[in-house]
Protein backbone atom coordinates (compact mmCIF):
# COMPACT_ATOMS: atom_id res chain seq x y z
CA UNK A 1 0.00 0.00 0.00
CA UNK A 2 2.81 2.38 0.95
CA UNK A 3 4.65 1.51 -2.28
CA UNK A 4 1.49 2.29 -4.25
CA UNK A 5 1.04 5.61 -2.46
CA UNK A 6 4.70 6.49 -3.05
CA UNK A 7 4.17 6.25 -6.80
CA UNK A 8 2.04 9.39 -6.80
CA UNK A 9 2.55 12.92 -5.51
CA UNK A 10 0.34 14.63 -2.94
CA UNK A 11 -1.81 16.48 -5.49
CA UNK A 12 -2.52 13.27 -7.38
CA UNK A 13 -3.45 11.38 -4.21
CA UNK A 14 -5.75 14.21 -3.08
CA UNK A 15 -7.30 14.26 -6.54
CA UNK A 16 -7.85 10.50 -6.37
CA UNK A 17 -9.52 10.91 -2.97
CA UNK A 18 -11.77 13.66 -4.30
CA UNK A 19 -12.58 11.53 -7.36
CA UNK A 20 -13.61 8.61 -5.15
CA UNK A 21 -15.74 10.78 -2.85
CA UNK A 22 -17.42 12.39 -5.87
CA UNK A 23 -18.02 8.95 -7.39
CA UNK A 24 -19.95 7.88 -4.30
CA UNK A 25 -21.90 11.15 -4.08
CA UNK A 26 -22.74 11.48 -7.77
CA UNK A 27 -23.71 7.81 -8.09
CA UNK A 28 -26.19 8.25 -5.28
CA UNK A 29 -27.56 11.43 -6.89
CA UNK A 30 -28.11 9.45 -10.08
CA UNK A 31 -29.62 6.52 -8.17
CA UNK A 32 -31.97 8.89 -6.41
CA UNK A 33 -33.06 10.78 -9.51
CA UNK A 34 -32.63 8.46 -12.49
CA UNK A 35 -32.62 4.95 -11.02
CA UNK A 36 -30.25 1.99 -10.80
CA UNK A 37 -29.14 1.54 -14.42
CA UNK A 38 -28.07 5.14 -15.10
CA UNK A 39 -26.38 5.17 -11.69
CA UNK A 40 -24.44 1.99 -12.49
CA UNK A 41 -23.31 3.43 -15.85
CA UNK A 42 -22.14 6.66 -14.24
CA UNK A 43 -20.37 5.02 -11.30
CA UNK A 44 -18.70 2.44 -13.61
CA UNK A 45 -17.47 5.26 -15.86
CA UNK A 46 -16.13 7.21 -12.89
CA UNK A 47 -14.32 4.20 -11.44
CA UNK A 48 -13.01 2.97 -14.80
CA UNK A 49 -11.87 6.53 -15.54
CA UNK A 50 -10.09 6.58 -12.18
CA UNK A 51 -8.23 3.34 -12.91
CA UNK A 52 -7.26 4.43 -16.46
CA UNK A 53 -6.14 7.83 -15.16
CA UNK A 54 -4.04 6.30 -12.34
CA UNK A 55 -2.36 4.02 -14.87
CA UNK A 56 -1.58 6.78 -17.38
CA UNK A 57 -1.99 10.55 -17.09
CA UNK A 58 -1.81 10.61 -13.28
CA UNK A 59 1.91 10.05 -13.70
CA UNK A 60 2.46 12.11 -16.86
CA UNK A 61 -0.32 14.69 -17.41
CA UNK A 62 -1.69 14.98 -20.93
CA UNK A 63 -0.51 17.74 -23.26
CA UNK A 64 -3.28 20.38 -23.01
CA UNK A 65 -2.75 21.47 -26.62
CA UNK A 66 -3.58 17.95 -27.82
CA UNK A 67 -6.44 16.99 -25.52
CA UNK A 68 -8.37 20.19 -24.76
CA UNK A 69 -9.68 20.68 -28.33
CA UNK A 70 -10.97 17.08 -28.43
CA UNK A 71 -12.41 17.47 -24.95
CA UNK A 72 -14.17 20.69 -25.98
CA UNK A 73 -15.59 18.95 -29.08
CA UNK A 74 -16.79 16.06 -26.88
CA UNK A 75 -18.61 18.35 -24.46
CA UNK A 76 -20.12 20.32 -27.36
CA UNK A 77 -21.44 17.09 -28.89
CA UNK A 78 -22.64 16.00 -25.49
CA UNK A 79 -24.64 19.22 -25.12
CA UNK A 80 -26.10 18.58 -28.59
CA UNK A 81 -27.03 15.07 -27.41
CA UNK A 82 -28.54 16.44 -24.20
CA UNK A 83 -30.60 18.78 -26.36
CA UNK A 84 -32.15 15.82 -28.14
CA UNK A 85 -32.77 14.12 -24.81
CA UNK A 86 -34.48 17.24 -23.48
CA UNK A 87 -36.68 17.64 -26.56
CA UNK A 88 -37.80 14.01 -26.30
CA UNK A 89 -38.44 14.12 -22.55
CA UNK A 90 -35.60 11.72 -21.67
CA UNK A 91 -35.59 12.51 -17.93
CA UNK A 92 -39.30 11.93 -17.22
CA UNK A 93 -39.35 8.79 -19.42
CA UNK A 94 -36.39 7.27 -17.60
CA UNK A 95 -38.03 8.35 -14.34
CA UNK A 96 -41.19 6.46 -15.28
CA UNK A 97 -39.23 3.36 -16.29
CA UNK A 98 -37.18 3.24 -13.10
CA UNK A 99 -39.95 4.46 -10.83
CA UNK A 100 -37.98 7.42 -9.49
CA UNK A 101 -40.23 10.11 -10.95
CA UNK A 102 -37.28 12.03 -12.43
CA UNK A 103 -38.76 15.32 -13.59
CA UNK A 104 -37.74 17.43 -16.56
CA UNK A 105 -36.63 20.30 -14.32
CA UNK A 106 -34.43 17.95 -12.25
CA UNK A 107 -32.88 16.55 -15.43
CA UNK A 108 -32.18 20.03 -16.80
CA UNK A 109 -30.81 21.28 -13.48
CA UNK A 110 -28.41 18.34 -13.13
CA UNK A 111 -27.15 17.92 -16.69
CA UNK A 112 -27.41 21.45 -18.03
CA UNK A 113 -26.42 23.52 -15.00
CA UNK A 114 -24.59 21.41 -12.38
CA UNK A 115 -22.55 18.83 -14.33
CA UNK A 116 -21.34 21.34 -16.99
CA UNK A 117 -19.73 23.35 -14.17
CA UNK A 118 -17.39 20.38 -13.65
CA UNK A 119 -16.85 19.94 -17.40
CA UNK A 120 -15.81 23.57 -17.84
CA UNK A 121 -13.65 23.60 -14.69
CA UNK A 122 -11.98 20.37 -15.83
CA UNK A 123 -10.94 22.01 -19.10
CA UNK A 124 -9.20 24.76 -17.14
CA UNK A 125 -7.56 22.19 -14.86
CA UNK A 126 -6.27 20.17 -17.82
CA UNK A 127 -4.82 23.41 -19.20
CA UNK A 128 -2.72 23.82 -16.04
CA UNK A 129 -1.91 20.07 -16.09
CA UNK A 130 -3.74 19.46 -12.83
CA UNK A 131 -4.28 15.76 -12.02
CA UNK A 132 -7.95 16.23 -11.13
CA UNK A 133 -8.73 17.64 -14.58
CA UNK A 134 -6.97 14.68 -16.15
CA UNK A 135 -9.24 12.33 -14.19
CA UNK A 136 -12.38 14.21 -15.34
CA UNK A 137 -11.47 13.91 -19.02
CA UNK A 138 -10.83 10.19 -18.57
CA UNK A 139 -14.20 9.84 -16.82
CA UNK A 140 -16.04 11.82 -19.52
CA UNK A 141 -14.48 9.85 -22.37
CA UNK A 142 -14.91 6.44 -20.71
CA UNK A 143 -18.48 7.52 -19.89
CA UNK A 144 -19.15 8.11 -23.57
CA UNK A 145 -18.06 4.56 -24.39
CA UNK A 146 -20.04 2.96 -21.56
CA UNK A 147 -23.12 5.17 -21.61
CA UNK A 148 -23.90 6.18 -25.15
CA UNK A 149 -24.37 2.71 -26.70
CA UNK A 150 -27.10 2.11 -24.10
CA UNK A 151 -29.20 4.70 -25.94
CA UNK A 152 -29.22 2.48 -29.01
CA UNK A 153 -29.01 -1.00 -27.53
CA UNK A 154 -31.00 -0.92 -24.28
CA UNK A 155 -33.28 2.10 -23.81
CA UNK A 156 -35.27 1.52 -27.05
CA UNK A 157 -36.38 -1.89 -25.72
CA UNK A 158 -37.39 -0.78 -22.25
CA UNK A 159 -40.80 0.71 -23.05
CA UNK A 160 -43.01 -2.22 -24.02
CA UNK A 161 -40.23 -4.51 -25.29
CA UNK A 162 -40.51 -3.35 -28.93
CA UNK A 163 -37.51 -1.49 -30.46
CA UNK A 164 -38.55 2.11 -30.99
CA UNK A 165 -37.22 5.66 -30.81
CA UNK A 166 -35.99 6.69 -27.39
CA UNK A 167 -34.85 10.28 -26.71
CA UNK A 168 -31.13 10.70 -27.35
CA UNK A 169 -30.58 7.74 -29.66
CA UNK A 170 -30.08 9.77 -32.87
CA UNK A 171 -27.21 11.79 -31.43
CA UNK A 172 -25.71 9.21 -29.03
CA UNK A 173 -22.92 8.13 -31.36
CA UNK A 174 -21.46 11.61 -31.86
CA UNK A 175 -19.99 11.97 -28.34
CA UNK A 176 -19.07 8.26 -28.42
CA UNK A 177 -16.84 8.83 -31.46
CA UNK A 178 -15.29 11.88 -29.78
CA UNK A 179 -14.68 9.78 -26.67
CA UNK A 180 -12.89 7.07 -28.63
CA UNK A 181 -10.81 9.72 -30.38
CA UNK A 182 -9.89 11.35 -27.07
CA UNK A 183 -8.89 8.08 -25.41
CA UNK A 184 -6.75 7.06 -28.37
CA UNK A 185 -4.96 10.43 -28.20
CA UNK A 186 -4.51 10.13 -24.41
CA UNK A 187 -3.00 6.66 -24.69
CA UNK A 188 -0.80 7.69 -27.61
CA UNK A 189 0.41 10.75 -25.71
CA UNK A 190 1.12 8.71 -22.61
CA UNK A 191 3.08 6.08 -24.54
CA UNK A 192 5.12 8.73 -26.32
CA UNK A 193 5.84 10.56 -23.06
CA UNK A 194 6.79 7.34 -21.29
CA UNK A 195 9.04 6.35 -24.17
CA UNK A 196 10.90 9.66 -24.08
CA UNK A 197 11.12 9.88 -20.26
CA UNK A 198 14.61 9.38 -18.81
CA UNK A 199 15.10 5.91 -17.32
Amino acid sequence: MTALLNRYDRRTLLSAGLALALTVAFSIVCLNQAGLMPSLIVSSAMLAGLVCWLLTTAKIPADPARVIPIYAITTALLMFHLGEEYLGGFGPRIGRLTGTGWSESEFVLLFCFVVPVFWIAAGALVYIRHPFGNWVIWFVWVGMILGEPVHLLVFPFLEGGRYHYFPGMWTALFPLVAGLWGISVLIGEYRAARGSAPA
Binding site: A25, L31, N32
Partner: protein, 196 residues
Protein backbone atom coordinates in the same frame (compact mmCIF):
# COMPACT_ATOMS: atom_id res chain seq x y z
CA UNK B 1 -17.13 41.17 32.60
CA UNK B 2 -15.76 40.22 29.24
CA UNK B 3 -17.60 37.13 28.05
CA UNK B 4 -15.41 34.05 27.93
CA UNK B 5 -15.09 32.46 24.50
CA UNK B 6 -16.58 29.19 25.75
CA UNK B 7 -19.76 31.04 26.75
CA UNK B 8 -20.01 32.63 23.34
CA UNK B 9 -19.65 29.25 21.65
CA UNK B 10 -22.21 27.66 23.95
CA UNK B 11 -24.61 30.54 23.27
CA UNK B 12 -24.00 30.15 19.56
CA UNK B 13 -24.80 26.44 19.70
CA UNK B 14 -27.94 27.01 21.74
CA UNK B 15 -29.04 29.78 19.41
CA UNK B 16 -28.63 27.39 16.53
CA UNK B 17 -30.71 24.77 18.26
CA UNK B 18 -33.36 27.31 19.23
CA UNK B 19 -33.65 28.62 15.69
CA UNK B 20 -33.65 25.06 14.43
CA UNK B 21 -34.98 23.67 11.24
CA UNK B 22 -37.89 23.76 9.02
CA UNK B 23 -37.71 20.47 7.19
CA UNK B 24 -34.34 20.86 5.47
CA UNK B 25 -34.49 21.34 1.73
CA UNK B 26 -32.88 17.90 1.42
CA UNK B 27 -36.16 16.24 1.87
CA UNK B 28 -39.00 14.27 0.92
CA UNK B 29 -38.46 10.71 1.90
CA UNK B 30 -37.54 8.53 -1.05
CA UNK B 31 -39.54 5.31 -0.87
CA UNK B 32 -39.45 3.41 2.39
CA UNK B 33 -36.95 4.47 5.04
CA UNK B 34 -34.21 1.95 4.24
CA UNK B 35 -30.52 2.17 3.40
CA UNK B 36 -31.01 3.59 -0.11
CA UNK B 37 -33.38 6.28 1.15
CA UNK B 38 -30.82 7.23 3.79
CA UNK B 39 -28.03 7.38 1.23
CA UNK B 40 -30.12 9.47 -1.14
CA UNK B 41 -31.47 11.87 1.46
CA UNK B 42 -28.47 14.20 1.95
CA UNK B 43 -28.00 14.72 -1.79
CA UNK B 44 -31.66 15.57 -2.26
CA UNK B 45 -31.29 19.21 -1.27
CA UNK B 46 -28.84 22.06 -1.55
CA UNK B 47 -28.70 23.09 2.11
CA UNK B 48 -27.46 19.73 3.29
CA UNK B 49 -25.03 19.35 0.40
CA UNK B 50 -23.48 22.76 0.97
CA UNK B 51 -23.34 22.34 4.76
CA UNK B 52 -21.59 18.97 4.56
CA UNK B 53 -19.04 20.13 2.00
CA UNK B 54 -18.40 23.28 4.07
CA UNK B 55 -17.82 21.23 7.24
CA UNK B 56 -15.27 19.11 5.36
CA UNK B 57 -13.61 22.22 3.91
CA UNK B 58 -13.56 23.95 7.30
CA UNK B 59 -11.75 21.00 8.87
CA UNK B 60 -8.74 21.76 6.63
CA UNK B 61 -8.26 25.19 8.21
CA UNK B 62 -6.94 23.72 11.46
CA UNK B 63 -4.51 20.98 12.48
CA UNK B 64 -4.21 17.67 10.70
CA UNK B 65 -6.15 15.90 13.47
CA UNK B 66 -9.15 18.14 12.80
CA UNK B 67 -9.41 16.68 9.30
CA UNK B 68 -11.27 13.74 10.78
CA UNK B 69 -12.26 15.15 14.18
CA UNK B 70 -14.52 17.94 12.91
CA UNK B 71 -16.41 15.68 10.44
CA UNK B 72 -16.61 13.02 13.18
CA UNK B 73 -18.08 15.63 15.52
CA UNK B 74 -20.70 16.42 12.89
CA UNK B 75 -21.48 12.76 12.24
CA UNK B 76 -21.85 11.88 15.92
CA UNK B 77 -23.98 14.97 16.57
CA UNK B 78 -26.23 14.12 13.66
CA UNK B 79 -26.54 10.47 14.71
CA UNK B 80 -27.47 11.45 18.27
CA UNK B 81 -29.95 14.05 17.08
CA UNK B 82 -31.51 11.64 14.56
CA UNK B 83 -31.77 8.93 17.22
CA UNK B 84 -33.30 11.31 19.75
CA UNK B 85 -35.84 12.59 17.22
CA UNK B 86 -36.75 9.02 16.34
CA UNK B 87 -37.40 8.19 19.99
CA UNK B 88 -39.04 11.45 21.00
CA UNK B 89 -41.02 11.95 17.79
CA UNK B 90 -40.77 14.57 15.06
CA UNK B 91 -40.04 18.17 15.91
CA UNK B 92 -41.62 21.31 14.52
CA UNK B 93 -39.15 24.14 14.34
CA UNK B 94 -39.13 27.68 12.97
CA UNK B 95 -37.58 28.57 9.62
CA UNK B 96 -34.12 29.79 8.63
CA UNK B 97 -32.18 27.74 11.23
CA UNK B 98 -30.51 25.55 8.65
CA UNK B 99 -29.74 28.34 6.20
CA UNK B 100 -28.34 30.37 9.10
CA UNK B 101 -26.01 27.55 10.08
CA UNK B 102 -24.85 27.04 6.49
CA UNK B 103 -24.24 30.79 6.21
CA UNK B 104 -22.28 30.84 9.46
CA UNK B 105 -20.14 27.89 8.33
CA UNK B 106 -19.35 29.75 5.12
CA UNK B 107 -18.44 32.93 6.99
CA UNK B 108 -16.17 31.06 9.42
CA UNK B 109 -14.43 29.37 6.47
CA UNK B 110 -13.92 32.81 4.93
CA UNK B 111 -12.25 34.27 8.03
CA UNK B 112 -8.48 34.83 7.89
CA UNK B 113 -7.95 32.91 11.14
CA UNK B 114 -11.06 30.95 12.11
CA UNK B 115 -11.36 29.83 15.74
CA UNK B 116 -11.42 26.09 16.20
CA UNK B 117 -14.02 26.24 18.98
CA UNK B 118 -16.39 28.31 16.85
CA UNK B 119 -16.03 25.80 14.03
CA UNK B 120 -16.82 22.88 16.34
CA UNK B 121 -19.77 24.65 17.94
CA UNK B 122 -21.20 25.53 14.54
CA UNK B 123 -20.64 22.05 13.17
CA UNK B 124 -22.35 20.62 16.27
CA UNK B 125 -25.34 22.95 15.99
CA UNK B 126 -25.70 22.25 12.27
CA UNK B 127 -25.47 18.51 12.92
CA UNK B 128 -28.22 18.66 15.53
CA UNK B 129 -30.50 20.61 13.21
CA UNK B 130 -29.87 18.35 10.25
CA UNK B 131 -30.20 15.16 12.29
CA UNK B 132 -33.60 16.26 13.60
CA UNK B 133 -34.90 17.49 10.25
CA UNK B 134 -33.84 14.32 8.43
CA UNK B 135 -36.00 12.22 10.72
CA UNK B 136 -39.22 14.08 10.05
CA UNK B 137 -41.73 11.55 8.84
CA UNK B 138 -39.62 8.54 9.84
CA UNK B 139 -41.32 6.15 12.26
CA UNK B 140 -39.36 4.05 14.75
CA UNK B 141 -39.04 0.74 12.95
CA UNK B 142 -36.32 -1.70 11.97
CA UNK B 143 -35.55 0.05 8.68
CA UNK B 144 -34.97 3.34 10.48
CA UNK B 145 -31.57 2.08 11.67
CA UNK B 146 -30.55 1.32 8.08
CA UNK B 147 -31.90 4.70 7.06
CA UNK B 148 -29.72 6.48 9.65
CA UNK B 149 -26.74 4.34 8.62
CA UNK B 150 -27.21 5.38 4.98
CA UNK B 151 -27.59 8.99 6.06
CA UNK B 152 -24.30 8.86 7.97
CA UNK B 153 -22.46 7.06 5.15
CA UNK B 154 -23.48 9.65 2.58
CA UNK B 155 -22.75 12.49 4.99
CA UNK B 156 -19.23 11.11 5.48
CA UNK B 157 -18.73 10.88 1.70
CA UNK B 158 -19.76 14.52 1.31
CA UNK B 159 -17.45 15.58 4.17
CA UNK B 160 -14.62 13.78 2.37
CA UNK B 161 -15.51 15.61 -0.84
CA UNK B 162 -15.14 18.90 1.05
CA UNK B 163 -11.87 17.82 2.70
CA UNK B 164 -10.19 16.67 -0.52
CA UNK B 165 -11.47 19.63 -2.56
CA UNK B 166 -10.31 22.13 0.09
CA UNK B 167 -6.87 20.52 0.43
CA UNK B 168 -6.45 20.63 -3.35
CA UNK B 169 -7.56 24.26 -3.52
CA UNK B 170 -5.30 25.23 -0.61
CA UNK B 171 -2.33 23.57 -2.35
CA UNK B 172 -2.64 25.89 -5.37
CA UNK B 173 -0.95 29.29 -5.56
CA UNK B 174 -3.09 31.76 -3.57
CA UNK B 175 -5.09 28.70 -2.64
CA UNK B 176 -5.97 29.88 0.85
CA UNK B 177 -7.54 32.99 -0.60
CA UNK B 178 -9.54 30.85 -3.02
CA UNK B 179 -10.67 28.61 -0.17
CA UNK B 180 -11.80 31.62 1.84
CA UNK B 181 -13.66 32.90 -1.20
CA UNK B 182 -15.37 29.52 -1.38
CA UNK B 183 -16.62 30.15 2.15
CA UNK B 184 -18.19 33.41 1.01
CA UNK B 185 -19.82 31.60 -1.90
CA UNK B 186 -21.25 29.10 0.61
CA UNK B 187 -22.57 31.93 2.78
CA UNK B 188 -24.13 33.61 -0.27
CA UNK B 189 -25.74 30.32 -1.25
CA UNK B 190 -27.19 30.06 2.26
CA UNK B 191 -28.68 33.54 1.92
CA UNK B 192 -30.18 32.50 -1.40
CA UNK B 193 -31.65 29.35 0.17
CA UNK B 194 -33.23 31.43 2.92
CA UNK B 195 -34.67 33.85 0.38
CA UNK B 196 -36.16 31.16 -1.87
Amino acid sequence: MRPRPARIYAALSLAGVALAPIPAAAHGLIGTPGLVAGLAHPVGGWDHLIALILVGALSTRFDRIDLWRLPACFLSGMALSAGATLILGSVTLPPFGLALCVGALGIVLALPAPRRNVAYALAGATAILHGASHMIGIAAQTDAAFYIFGLLLMTAALHLTGVFAALLIADAPRGLLALRALGLVGAAAAALLAAL
